[in-house]
Every structure is written in C-alpha cells, then in structure tokens.
C-alpha cells in the first residue's frame, strides 16, 4: 500500500516515514510516556487510542514539536531529528489539527487560512490570490464555503473544515488529528472521514486520535493502543473489533459496561411537560417521566435537546405546561426548579458546570451554599466534611484536596459535578452528555451511578449523542429532530436503526 501511495505522489521525494524509538516523557519526575516505539507508514491512517491519561495527547505533542521528549529518538526517513518546535515540525511536513477551534472569529475564511503566511504583492496583501487559494483549499475538502465569509458565522463543523484546510495548506507528509469528531454530527463525521481518506490517498500519513471506536474501525489501517503511558499493541485494524480495542485500552474485560436496571412499572408520572416551546430551538415538545425511570433523549447535535431541558428548568425562556407530581408549576429561573428538586447537569462541564480556577470545596458546595451557611456565614468545617464524603462516595480521584477543579481529569470533573448537584438532594436529575470525553472505566462508574439513582426512586433524564450508551442504560428513549419530538422507542425497539431513522428522518417524506 505504501508503495502504491508513494507512486501517486507528484514529485520524486521519498515516502514519508516517521518512527519513534524508546520515546519517554516525564513531568516533574512522573513518567507519562514510557519507551514508545511507534512507526508510521506513508499512506496509512494510524489510529492512537487509549483512555484519558494514557498519554495520547503527550505523544502527539512530542511528534508535532510542542514538547520535547525526556528520552528517545524521533526519526524521519530514517534520520534521527530533534524538533525545535511546532514551526520546525511544520517545515518537516508534520501538521497537527488541534481539537479546539483556533480561528479568529472576526476574520474571514481566507484571512484565517492564510493567517501568519499571507500572500503579498510587494507590501500589499494579495486578497484575490488568498481568496482563490482558500476557496480551492476548502473545495478540496469537499465543502463549499465562501472564502470571504466571516468565520464567526460558520457552524462548528465548517469552522473545523476551515481549520483543517489551514493545516493542509502547508506541504504535509503526516497530518495529526486530535479527536476531530468530538463535536460533529454523524453526517459531518462521515464527511471528515472522507477527507481523511483523501489525505491517505495522496500518500501522506494520518495519525488519528479518537474515543469513538467504531469510527476507528471504519477509517484506520492500523491501531496503536496506549495504556498508562505504555504502548500496549499496534495491530492491523482489520484484526480488531471495537470491543477488542476497548479491552486493550482498559486492560480487562468490559463486556458488562452497562448495569442492570429494572424499569419502573405503570406508575403515575412525576414530571409532565406539555406543548413546551423554547423559541428558536424547540417547539411543541411533550414528554413524561416516571418515578425511578431512566429516560433517554436522542437526536443529532443541534436537535434542541439541551435547549429544551434548559427551557424546562428555567435556564432559558420557554413556554408551555409543566406538571410536577400532577401539580402545575412554572420555573421563572433555575433557582425555582432547583428548589422543586430538579437539577440539570450541563454538557459543557468546563464552561458551565465547574469553576476550573477554584478549588474542589468551592465547586462542590456552590449550588447548595445555604446548606453550609448559618445565616450568611459559611461553615467551612461542614464544607470540608462534605468534600471528604463526596470524594469517598463518588470516587473522585485527586492527589490532594486543595487542587483546583481544572486540575482534575475529565472523568473526575464529571464526578465532582455530579456530587455538586446531588448535594441539592434532587428528585429528578437531568444529565446532558454524561460521559463526553471520559474514559471507559469512569463511564462504567457513571452508568452504575445513574442506575443506582433510579433504583433509589429518583428519576433521571439522560441526553446523549452516543446511542449505545442510551440503549444500554435507558428504559425509554425520546428522539428529537430539528426542535421537535419525533418519536419514542422502548423495549425491543430501542436499537440504533430505529433511533437513527427517527433522528435523521431519512425514511420519512418530510426530511428536516
């Protein structure tokens, strides 16, 4: 394959080939990467998978010149090299497509793509050439984006394409993608996978980091598994099923990821929402939640699930009927719904869930401070006890209790957020994307926590874009499309096919 790919390359330069030998990285005496021997062939998509903290990001940062390894060698075309920085790496044809969108929102697509490497005629910017170049670069990715459009007006998926176009503008031999599909819809993901396939066909290598194992199976030629900073295995993707990859990542059997949960019988609903509108996001939504039930909300990103729930709990303006235990209620703001025993855990853990710059105690008690205060004065001893309890109960792994929330790993941040909201002693818990960006071991714990919560008589609404997760833990799944509830599945109908049909509307006549 690599020879075929090399043959397609326009010029006669040698096939890209990068390898690391005995690569190790330590931060403050702690080894986060141990003796990594990795080789990347020209014209392959090489997936790197591993749990959070396995060392994937560190490895990518070393290969793209952002970090210097403590020990070990990197070779390109067999020559040992020392990367002095990301610019040096780019000169050698190694480009990294960052996970976050790093674009200036007020500049145009072309201005962003050429930022820092503007084309000039003498001293003057050559806007026409840059616009044409940008249009061509974006078109090569199979997208149609106006180069003079301001980036801030583009959807997340299109911004990502612009970012990829920018990265691919430099002559590249190895393109590194760091979880590129984390915020993309299935359709956009498919488009991106096609782009990656094109890069592979052009003879360049792709290093692909993802949490989504089925996607890895679909696109990768080879898969390297990291665990605890060690390279566990490099295999042909054809040999591995997603479940095998998960097993290699975790180091033990993970077939029983989802806990058992007995759906509640035919009891009266505890929460009923009728004809609820959230202007611009959701319209005429009706659903009911029973005591002890786990109700899923499926749909594509942008289907209005998050906004509907935010409207219901009073975080957004919404109109419609809400009945709690049969009694009509209105939540003018989120304090009202909290007082009524409903909590909402945002999908945006870092942006809306936790104060990353503050310590664990401050975060834990923030939503329920009045329980820790006599009058206006906070009792810090009671807060400390609460933190100890939360660390024990929710298995929050922290090397010391004075850390800032931002210093915890994603999974432990999620546990802290859950602990924080559970201090409100809610009867109804709405969790939005409970396991986004979280490793499989912690996922298992969170699923168990949700099942236990329901078993103890609380009711849970889970919004998730991961269908296996919804099917695995929910009693019933409501499906939304374009701001409307388009169906509900339960029992044997809870399968990916039926949900996808509802979520995308592909087989119905009225396509969204």
């Amino acid at each position: 394959m690599s020879t075929a790919a090399a043959a397609q390359r326009p010029s006669g330069d040698p096939a890209p080939f990068m390898a690391s030998e005995g690569l190790s990285m330590a931060f403050g005496g702690i080894e986060v990467l141990k003796n990594i021997d990795l080789n990347i062939r020209a014209g392959e998509v090489h997936a790197i998978i591993g749990e959070n903290g396995a060392g994937k990001s560190t490895l990518m940062k070393i290969l793209s010149g952002h970090l210097r390894p403590t020990r070990g060698t990197i070779r390109i075309d067999g020559e040992p090299i020392a990367l002095s920085g990301p610019v040096d790496a780019e000169h050698r044809g190694i480009v990294l497509v960052h996970q976050e969108i790093l674009l200036a929102p007020d500049l145009t697509v072309a201005q962003n793509i050429y930022l820092g490497r503007e084309l000039k005629k003498g001293f003057v910017l050559n806007d026409r050439a840059m616009n044409e170049g940008a249009a061509k670069a974006v078109r090569n990715l199979g997208a149609d984006v106006d180069p003079v459009q301001t980036v801030g007006r583009l959807s997340i998926a299109r911004r990502q394409l612009v970012q990829i176009a920018r990265a691919l503008l430099v002559p590249h031999r190895i393109v590194i993608f760091d979880e590129p599909t984390a915020s993309l819809t299935p359709v956009e993901t498919d488009a991106l996978l096609k782009v990656i396939d094109d890069i592979r066909r052009s003879g360049a290598a792709v290093l692909y980091i993802s949490h989504r194992l089925p996607e890895v199976k679909q696109i990768a030629d080879r898969v390297t598994v990291l665990r605890d900073g060690r390279l566990i295995a490099t295999r042909d993707a054809a040999e591995l099923e997603p479940i095998d990859m998960a097993r290699l990542m975790v180091g033990r059997d993970v077939s029983k990821l989802y806990p058992d949960h007995v759906p509640p019988g035919d009891t009266a609903p505890i929460l009923e929402v009728e004809n609820f509108d959230v202007p611009g996001y959701a319209s005429n939504a009706s659903f009911a939640l029973k005591k002890g039930e786990i109700l899923g909300f499926a749909g594509l990103v942008g289907a209005g699930r998050t906004e509907l729930m935010e409207g219901v709990v009073g975080l957004r303006t919404g109109r419609g009927k809400i009945r709690l235990n049969g009694k009509p209620v209105t939540f003018g703001n989120v304090r009202n719904s909290m007082a009524a025993g409903i909590v909402y855990l945002s999908e945006d853990r870092k942006g809306k869930g936790l104060l990353l710059q503050q310590d664990l105690r401050t975060n834990l008690t923030l939503a329920s401070l009045n329980k820790f205060a006599s009058g206006m004065v906070i009792d810090s001893a009671r807060e400390k006890t609460a933190l100890d309890n939360a660390i024990g109960e929710f298995d929050i792994r922290t090397r010391n209790k004075d850390l800032l929330a931002g210093q915890l790993s994603g999974g432990n941040q999620q546990k802290l957020l859950i602990a924080k909201m559970m201090l409100l002693k809610p009867g109804i818990v709405i969790i939005d994307e409970p396991t986004r960006g979280i490793d499989i071991g912690t996922k298992e714990q969170i699923y168990k926590f949700i099942a236990d919560l329901a078993a103890s008589g609380k009711s849970v609404i889970v919004i998730s874009s991961e269908m296996p997760e919804l099917i695995g833990i929910c009693d019933r799944i409501v499906v939304m499309r374009s701001g409307a509830i388009v169906g509900e599945v339960s029992g044997e109908h809870m399968n990916e096919n039926e949900i996808v049909v509802l979520a995308t509307g592909v087989t119905t006549s009225e396509v969204a």
């Binding site: 975080l315 942006g351 809306k352 869930g353 936790l354 104060l355 923030l366 906070i378 090397r399």
Partner: protein
C-alpha cells in the same frame, strides 16, 4: 513508592504558586519601607507612617469596594467623580442648615452620603446588569455624569462648608486620634475587616468569586448573576460614601476636580494587591496593602528629593503596569 512522589511534587509547586501571589504585595511593601528608611531619617517614624496611612485612607477604602466589583468580573471607573458628587451634595445639605444641632447635622449628612453613595452604586450596577452595557463603557459614562453634575452644582467653583460650628464638630474625624492612632486609620482597618469577612466567610462573598470566575457556571448553579454584580456596585458606592465621610472634614470643600484620577489609584491598589482584573480572585488585605504602597511611593519621593514629586502620576501609572507584569509572570511560573 511512585505514589508518594506523585502526591508530593505537584502539591508543593501549587502551594508555592498560591503563596507567592498572595504574599507578593506585602513583600513589596516591606522592601519599600526598607528603601524609604534609606531615603530619609524621618521616614520610618511612627508619626510619618501614621500620617501616610491616614492620607491613604480614601484610596484604601474606595479600593476595598473596587475589590468586590473587580472580583465579580466588573469595573467601576466612576468612583473618583462619585466622590466629588457625593461630597458636594453632603456639603450642600449641611449648608442648607435644616438641623440646629451641629452633631445632628453631621450625623444626618453622613446618612445622606451613605444613601447617595449606595444609590450611585445601584445606578452603576443596574446599567451594567439590567442594561447589559459593558462595565467599562457604563461607568465611563457615569463618570462623566457625576463629574458634570458636580461642575454644575459648584458652577465651576468650589462648594465650601460654611457653618463654622458644623465644621468644628466634623473636623476631628480626620484630624484627631484615639489611643494615638488617627480615626481614618481605624476606618481603613474596620472597613477592611468587614469586607474580608463578607468576601471570605459569607455565601454572598463566595457568589462574588463564582460570578467573577465564570458567569455561566454561577448561573447554572442557581446564583443570580445580576443580583450579585449589582450588589458589588452598591458596596462600591458605600465605600465611596465612607471615603467621603473622611474626606469632607479634611478640606471642608469640594471642587469640580475633587477625586480626579482616584479611579486609577483605586484600580492600581487592587491590582497591586493581587486581585485578578479578569475576576475570580479577591484579596482585601492585599488591596489595602496596595493603597499603602501607592501612598508610600509618593511619600518617599517627597522626602528624598531625588525624583520630582510632579512625576508622581507617572510613577503610579508605571506601578500598575509593573504589578500586571509581575502577576502574569507569577501565573506563568505555575
């Protein structure tokens, strides 16, 4: 074995980082005291130091209020103009002479100042929160309004306390001492103590920090962001009023330029004290320390005769920039 190293190494660097940022202003104050003692023999005398502290009282107290506003992610540029406005109205109130007893008049004027100060703060707060206008622009506008109203009230001249009895009753508040310590120095420390208690020990204070750290997180945690922000401006107004209480007996007069550039000095004191301008960190004692530093720099310049005292403004301006650079450097080190 590896476990013990993982727990120890990072925690130590974390504490070193936190300590440095909180301690830096006090170290700077100490160094300045050492420097001052070389500059002039009279510098390190109780008398001179108490005098310096007394003169720093307005800025220190206003800056304590600014610590709340800035910690919650806001900014108030109108404080200097507000001092002129509130003090002018209070003097006019006393000149109106509707209360016979001088003491009663002074007490009533104090109440008037507190009410007007809090009302001005409330106006600033509501414009930024309900009006959703950037605090920089909102308070810049209000700075013009308060300053303009003062100029109009004084008709371009001075507003002077005319009643000699009232003046005599009020004078001691600035000039007299209790147990050898001037009243304004008590005012600084009492205000600081109450402010520190409110910011560090009450749920309101915790909410201030939360709102300044991340408004969205605060909102999703059920905190009324608008209410908390507005209240910080009201506290700022109250602190301005307290500063006016001490200011009036000193000169018994205001003009259109009273309190000019005090907003710069107050913000400088806050930043020098280690409070982050982006919000989420508030250091009351650091702020007071920052106000002392500003005044001592002026005092040393005056005593040493090495640098012209006309350069005071330039030096104070430079201090805020240096303080920001030091803060940034300390953050990067972490």
């Amino acid at each position: 074995m590896t476990d013990t190293t993982t727990t120890k190494a990072p925690s130590r660097s974390f504490w070193r980082d936190v300590d440095l940022r909180a301690v830096a202003p006090f170290v700077a104050l100490f160094l300045l005291l050492v420097l001052g003692s070389f500059a002039h023999d009279n510098f390190l005398t109780t008398n001179n130091l108490l005098n310096v502290m007394t003169r720093s009282a307005y800025i220190a107290i206003i800056a304590v209020g600014a610590t709340f506003v800035i910690s919650a992610g806001g900014l108030d540029l109108s404080v200097g103009a507000m001092v002129a406005f509130v003090a002018s109205l209070a003097i006019m109130f006393m000149n109106a002479g509707s209360i016979a007893s001088p003491l009663g008049m002074v007490l009533a004027a104090m109440a008037v100042m507190v009410l007007i100060g809090m009302a001005c703060g409330l106006a600033n707060g509501l414009i930024t929160t309900i009006g959703k206008i950037e605090p920089f622009i909102a308070t810049l506008g209000m700075m013009g309004v308060y300053r303009g109203l003062t100029t109009w009230l004084s008709q371009g001249g001075a507003i002077t306390l005319r009643n000699a009895d009232v003046q005599a009753t009020y004078r001691p508040i600035y000039f007299e001492s209790l147990f050898g310590i001037p009243y304004p120095v008590y005012a600084i420390f009492v205000t600081g103590a109450i402010a520190a208690f409110v910011l560090y020990r009450t749920s309101f204070g915790r909410h201030v920090i939360a709102v300044g750290s991340n408004e969205d997180v605060a909102r999703y945690s059920g905190i009324s962001v608008e209410r908390v922000r507005t209240l910080t401006y009201v506290i700022q107004g109250l602190c301005v009023a307290i500063a006016c209480l001490i200011y009036i007996p000193r000169l018994s007069s205001t003009t259109a330029t009273t309190g000019m550039m005090w907003e710069l000095q107050a913000i400088t004191a806050v930043v020098v004290g280690g409070t982050a301008l982006r919000g989420g960190v508030g250091r009351i004692w650091g702020t007071i320390c920052g106000a002392f530093i500003l005044e001592i720099v002026g005092n040393v310049m005056l005593l040493s005769n090495v640098i012209s005292e006309y350069l005071l403004g330039a030096i104070q301006g430079a201090i805020i920039i240096i303080a920001m650079l030091v803060q940034r450097w300390l953050v990067r080190k972490s």
